[in-house]
Amino acid sequence: MDRKRIFTFLLLGGIILSMLASCKQIPEETAEPVTISIWELGTETEAAKAYIETVISQFKAETGISVTYGFISWGDAYNKIIAAIAANEGADILQMGTTWVATFISTDAFVDLTDDVGNVLPDADTFTPGAWATSGFGGKVYAIPWFSDVRGMVYRSDLWGEAGYPNGPQTWEDLRTGALKIKELHPDIESVIGLGGQGFSHYVGSFFWQNCGDFISPDGTTTAYNDPKNVEATQYWVDLIVEDGTVSKTNSEWTYDDVIARFWEGNVATMFVSPAFINVATEEQLAALDGKIAVTAQPSGTNGCRYNFVGGSDLMLFDYSTHKEEAKQFMAFLTRPEIQALKAELENDSPAVKAAYDIADMKKGYWPGFAEAAEHGFHFPIHPAWGGNVESLVPELVTDIWTAIVSGDYDDTTVQSVLDEINLDAQERLDSSGGKPENYNSPWPVPNVK
């Protein structure tokens, strides 16, 4: 065979062999497993970890979608969310405080979920009214309620019974009269009513709404801190401090957690807190106060309005997420009644879903009282200027009033002048935030006492 033929055979052979080598078996098409992430806000307690891990494993078993989680403390959360928005990097799903929802909607960093409601996500009727109201504004939905932080009135039923109110105070008049009676019968109690002066002080809003007032006008253009109804409401709780002494001056240094700690110590007889108040009690404290604690909705004011603060957290979906559909599936999963009831059982967080309250365990303990409080829930304005901005004037209002009281500068004009000054600041902030949002309509509380 001459060289030319040998070369031809080799060349052809090489080509045939290479073709055969490239004909490998095409493997079955396998989808890459999807992993989504969620940021939870708060402390990574054993209970919180148990809940999220249980839920994640159930979700994965059902859908094959993996979920990773991380906890961010509330103190760091606002800054971390801002950083995530600026960097376009972070978790897929974010737990969001309800009072922050409107502000962060304005950043355009979150997905509009309006079209998903009633499809992959539950519809509005699934949720308690107070919780659903925090999902967005102007007819748009950007957040799905996850759990409510309903602040009921938790009181010492034994002490209030002695004072003549076995079902607890139902009105402001009851609260004032009964607290004075308890103070007279039990002078050793440090503060009959706990209203912490440090931290956020959500009770400012509760008292406004109990007097049928609110922070921002229904059309969202004007702030109303110094509306006469709100001045009257503020004067009411200030009088508990300066006139009655049923709120002790030591409250000026107390945070929300301090009030709860002192309740369990027996130094506070009444407080306005969420179901999670149970979490900090020791076994001895639980035993000592067994049968002596009751929960109901906060009392009504002078105009027939009976409301209390409902906050909590929603779930929002970051726009930079590359697994939006899977994330929505997880958000829907978290709103199932049995999953909501599990969170209530493990972490004492009030469900945002109505059907969760029908589950057997939710009819025990203090849950019926908090369910009643949830029926009377009202919320901070879902307004873009609110979260972190106009909202941060609430603790300033409380600080200014306490400063006047402890410095000896308090007089009959203090409440009005503080609220006037705060309102000026609030209006400036509202105006500089773009003023009235499109389609905003948030009516003030209406009388609901039967």
Binding site: T103, A109, E253, G388, V406, R429
Partner: protein, 304 residues
């Protein structure tokens, strides 16, 4: 810089390059960014995309300085008082304890060690403990009540007293620096000077005035400037002692640093916060220049 010079010093240039690069990334670029933001309108609406911000000129600065009642000017006034009082009290305490520590007595070593405790304990720990001690039912009120110096507990952490609370906290963590620097300085003063002064009939205070203090002038200058600048910029003390996060700090204790923090992370007005930071830096820089000018004689010697 010619190539010969570069070759001669190339090792040095290469060795300082990482530091220069780090300073560029950690200091220079953020400072430049801050100045840039201060002339624009970076807030929650534009946070997602900084290119959406527009140039607003001096608007942010005018808003801060335009009114005598502005929060910025009020916090500036509070910060100046805070800085001056911290320096004065820390100087007096540091000098007094250094003079005692410089004397030979039994337990001198233990005394010196105890004086340095605030310097070695992390400030977060010190300030948190101090906060607990200053609560209405805290140990400080208890001691004052037991000594019959007060009839009812003082409310330290709310109201006008908060200025004194942050002053106490700041002095607590800063005065040991004066103590350690003065003590070291005193150790370096030749003993012969004091012996000669004794022979001449000088008393303790004359020796202090004519020998000790002049010998310490250089270290006094540096330490005073450091403590003044650190106090002017301080954020940790009011933040830790008067509550974090949502708790509003009373006007009496509202330092500029807190104002900046709240503007940025509560009002989400980053441009205003940046403008305040620029003004704060300019003021610090001016103060340092004025101080150096005042204490420097022609020829470069210090008057401190």
């Amino acid at each position: 810089m010619n190539s010969q010079s570069y070759k001669k010093h190339s090792l040095a240039y290469r060795m300082i390059f990482p530091t220069v690069l780090t300073m560029l990334i950690v200091h220079i670029i953020p400072i430049a960014m801050g100045i840039y933001i201060s002339f624009r309108n970076l807030d929650k609406y534009t946070l997602c995309n900084i290119s959406k911000t527009v140039f607003v000129g001096l608007r942010n600065y005018i808003n801060l300085l335009g009114s005598l009642n502005s929060d910025f000017l009020s916090s500036l006034s509070t910060t100046f008082r805070f800085m001056i009082l911290t320096v004065v009290i820390s100087y007096i305490l540091g000098l007094a304890c250094a003079l005692i520590g410089n004397e030979k007595f039994r337990g001198q070593t233990i005394f010196r060690g105890v004086m340095l405790i605030p310097l070695v304990i992390p400030s977060v720990v010190s300030l948190t403990c101090l906060r607990f001690m200053l609560q209405q039912n805290g140990i400080i009120n208890q001691i004052l009540l037991d000594l019959h110096l007060i009839k009812e507990p003082i409310i330290w952490l709310v109201g006008r007293n908060t200025f004194f609370v942050i002053l106490i906290g700041n002095v607590w963590i800063k005065w040991p620096l004066f103590f350690s620097v003065f003590l070291s300085g005193m150790q370096a003063i030749p003993e012969e000077l004091f012996e000669a002064a004794s022979i001449d009939g000088a008393n303790y205070f004359q020796k202090l005035k004519h020998i000790t203090l002049p010998s310490l002038k250089n270290v006094t200058f540096i330490t005073t400037m450091l403590i003044a600048v650190w106090s002017f910029n301080d954020f940790n003390v009011p933040y830790i002692m008067l509550g974090c996060g949502y708790t509003a700090v009373p006007d009496a204790a509202n330092l500029i640093s807190l104002n900046i923090y709240r503007s940025a992370f509560f009002a989400l007005n980053f441009s205003s916060a940046a403008a305040q930071s620029v003004l704060m830096s300019l003021i610090s820089f001016t103060l340092i220049l004025v101080y150096v000018k005042l204490i420097t004689k022609p020829g470069g010697e210090t008057n401190a």
